[in-house]
């Protein structure tokens, strides 16, 4: 005896949907898993054919990622015994560690620029979205379209003007320059997304706060902001992912001080001759902040994306 229900899916369709989701997850996660595994392989294992799934894990990739090494004569190596486990690893190749690599710095740059531009996009975006949502602004629709139109071509299409402009303004290879650039790209997305979220918040909440003796600004940050938190969180994730992963502008506009991790990681390939484990280690570490940020905000993200669809 089987019963039919409009809202409750049948066992078979649940099973089917579950299998599909797991299959999809596996397909998308295999490359990630492969990168993470490669980070713990030795260079020989990393390029062996057929590929090795079972191997002896080593931290070589991570050591190579974080250090600079030079090859030494046998005399030198004999007179200077390895001081720690990191030295031992590089000794296999007759090398010694001469100092830290630039990866730490570049990673820090990514953090500063990624989170800095995300914060700025959200800060400006929320204020603009609130104004568009609540006040009568002359030509509001045209302004909103204009803001969106900045996303209508690939940002890289304006790379040369920006390159020249930044050189003139002294913004090339500076943290501020990169923060401003990523904010400029992200702000249209932020304004549009956040306007949608703020439109969903009934005006009565603010009006109640105004009546209760608060100023417009107090009503905004005490009543509207907490309501918009889910929207802000999901917008922040989108902004961060863009700024964090951006490659083309980073290659073009940064070379030293403000270089972010994405253009740096591939340069590792050249240093010690196709050092895939080090590249994979760099990619793994690079993935972590966005992953953690997304996991922390994941409840908000899910609610945020479906916001408005099911409310009321």
């Amino acid at each position: 005896m089987s019963s039919f229900s409009v809202t409750e899916p049948s066992k078979r369709s649940k099973w089917f949907a579950g299998t599909l989701v797991i299959l999809y997850a596996l397909i998308t996660m295999i490359p990630l898993a492969w990168i993470m595994l490669t980070g713990f392989k030795s260079p020989a294992d990393a390029i062996s054919y057929p590929p090795k799934v079972i191997f002896e894990p080593t931290l070589e990739g991570y050591v190579n990622l974080f250090t600079q090494r030079t090859r030494q004569t046998e005399d030198f190596l004999a007179n200077n015994p390895p001081e720690n486990w990191r030295d031992e690893i590089v000794r296999q190749y007759d090398m010694v560690i001469v100092g830290p690599s630039k990866f730490g710095e570049r990673f820090l740059n990514s953090v500063i620029i990624g989170f800095g531009s995300t914060f700025l996009s959200i800060f400006l975006g929320t204020l603009a979205a609130y104004a568009f949502s609540r006040f009568k602004i002359p030509l509001a629709d045209d302004l909103l379209f204009f803001i969106l139109s900045t996303r209508m071509m690939p940002p890289i299409a304006v790379a040369i003007p920006i390159f020249l402009m930044y050189r003139q303004l002294g913004l090339s290879d500076t943290h501020l320059g990169m923060i401003l650039l990523y904010t400029a790209v992200n702000i249209s997305l932020a304004v549009w997304l956040l306007k949608g979220f703020i439109d969903e918040i009934p005006r009565e909440y603010e009006e109640a706060a105004l009546i209760d003796g608060y100023t417009r600004f107090q009503a905004f940050y005490k009543v509207v902001l907490p309501q918009a938190a889910t929207g802000i969180a999901s917008t922040a994730i989108f902004c961060l992912i863009f700024a964090w992963n951006e490659y083309a502008f980073a290659v073009l506009l940064t070379s030293g001080t403000a270089q972010t991790a994405p253009p740096f990681i591939p340069t590792i390939i050249g240093v010690g001759g196709l050092d895939w484990p080090a590249v994979a280690a760099g990619a793994t570490i690079f993935l972590l902040p966005v992953m953690i940020f997304t996991i922390l905000l994941r409840k908000n993200l899910l609610r945020g994306i479906t916001f408005g669809a099911v409310r009321k």
Binding site: P202, E204, E207, G213, T215, Q227
Partner: protein
């Protein structure tokens, strides 16, 4: 507590005029109803008193002070929203405390005051609950509590019972009225429900198409409507309009309907052309002696009374008669009208003609 005077207030939104020059006075301690169909400007008027909209022109006095251009926080007026607008990220206690915190009241005093108000409204047991899971009635009480907690000069209520289901509405209406009587605070209440307005209000302003149609006590508005709109809007079923063409002289005491002289209150104003004879269903009686006749089309049984629909020479007419009387469909019956209760209207202007019945009411409003 305060008197509110509205003087020639007008509000435009771009090209749209939401409220045309309107004036009325809300006396101290009154339960005052703003009544009208949706889009008539009643909510805009209420929002202007509260400061959520600024009038385009005109003045609003609260306790003798002109406040029309002040921000809401400087008016000391509380507002109860139709959808309650409780702060969703706060629990009941914090919702109630919020207006007091903004005044910088010390925490202990806030706590005492909130508990006092919660006791009045019977919501002490839900003080620590989030507002999300509350029933409609409890939300309504919390919204009221947030309004009364800071002892404002006046309360504005925008269809506060509109979001409740019918059964609970009645109960809440009584509770509201009792609360008002206990506190004696000036209250302005917006509604589109004429029954609610009649039942609860000390005074009613009837608005239509951005203008004030009539302003007075429920009895005045029901018995002595100033316009056809008011006569039609108030009462259920509404006033009967028997249309006729003719001339009535000043001081006339009857009009000619289908060849019959029908008594009216002594007129103080003459008129001619398309006129309307307005009579409430309960002022119509079926009598075989009446020369004016109609055919029974339908009857609706309402318990103690019944509503009879009749076809007359001047259009359809409804009569509210005792349910013990019988009226068969298709039967022709004589009709008589209680002359002192009749209102005549000029159809062109929609206004009532002045008579012994209504001249005092029409003089002031």
């Amino acid at each position: 507590m305060a008197e509110i005077v509205i003087k020639n207030v007008r509000k435009e939104f771009g090209d749209f005029v939401a409220v045309k020059e309107s004036s009325f006075t809300i006396e101290d301690g009154e339960f005052f109803m703003l009544l009208g169909p949706s889009g008539c400007g009643k909510t805009t008027t209420l929002r202007m008193i509260a400061g959520l909209e600024l009038p385009t022109s005109g003045e609003i006095y609260l306790d003798g002070e002109e406040i029309s251009q002040r921000p809401p926080s400087e008016r000391d007026i509380a507002f109860v929203f139709q959808m309650f607008a409780l702060y969703p990220h706060m629990n009941v206690r914090r919702n109630l405390s919020y207006p007091l915190v903004s005044q910088g009241m010390p925490r202990r005093q806030v706590k005492a005051k909130v508990e006092e108000v919660a006791a009045i409204l019977g919501i002490t047991d839900i003080l620590n609950r989030p507002v999300g899971g509350l029933s409609g009635g409890d939300r309504q009480r919390v919204a009221l509590g947030r309004a009364i907690v800071r002892d404002p000069k006046a309360f504005m209520m925008d269809e506060p019972l509109g979001a409740l289901d019918a059964e609970f509405r009645e109960h809440m209406a009584e509770e509201l009225r009792a609360l008002h009587d206990r506190m004696g605070a000036t209250t302005v209440y917006v509604t589109h429900d004429q029954l609610e307005a009649m039942q609860m209000g000390d005074k009613i302003v009837v608005m239509n198409n951005a203008v004030v149609e009539q302003f007075g006590t429920p009895q005045e508005i029901y018995d002595k409507p100033a316009s056809m709109f008011v006569a039609d809007f108030i009462g259920s079923p509404s006033m009967n309009f028997l249309r006729f063409e003719g001339v009535v002289a000043e001081a006339a005491q009857s009009v000619n309907l289908a060849g019959q002289a029908i008594g009216v209150p002594r007129l103080r104003q003459g008129a001619s052309g398309h006129l309307v004879f307005g009579v409430r269903p309960e002022h119509v009686t079926l009598s075989d002696t009446g020369g004016y006749r109609g055919e029974v089309l339908a009857s609706e049984y309402l318990g103690t009374t019944q509503i009879i629909t009749l076809d007359t020479p001047n259009g359809d007419l409804k009569a509210r008669i005792d349910s013990t009387q019988t009226a068969k469909v298709g039967e022709k019956v004589g009709l008589s009208f209680q002359a002192p209760k009749v209102t005549l209207f000029d159809e062109a202007t929609g206004k009532a003609l002045r008579s012994e019945l209504n001249h005092e009411v029409l003089a002031h409003g």
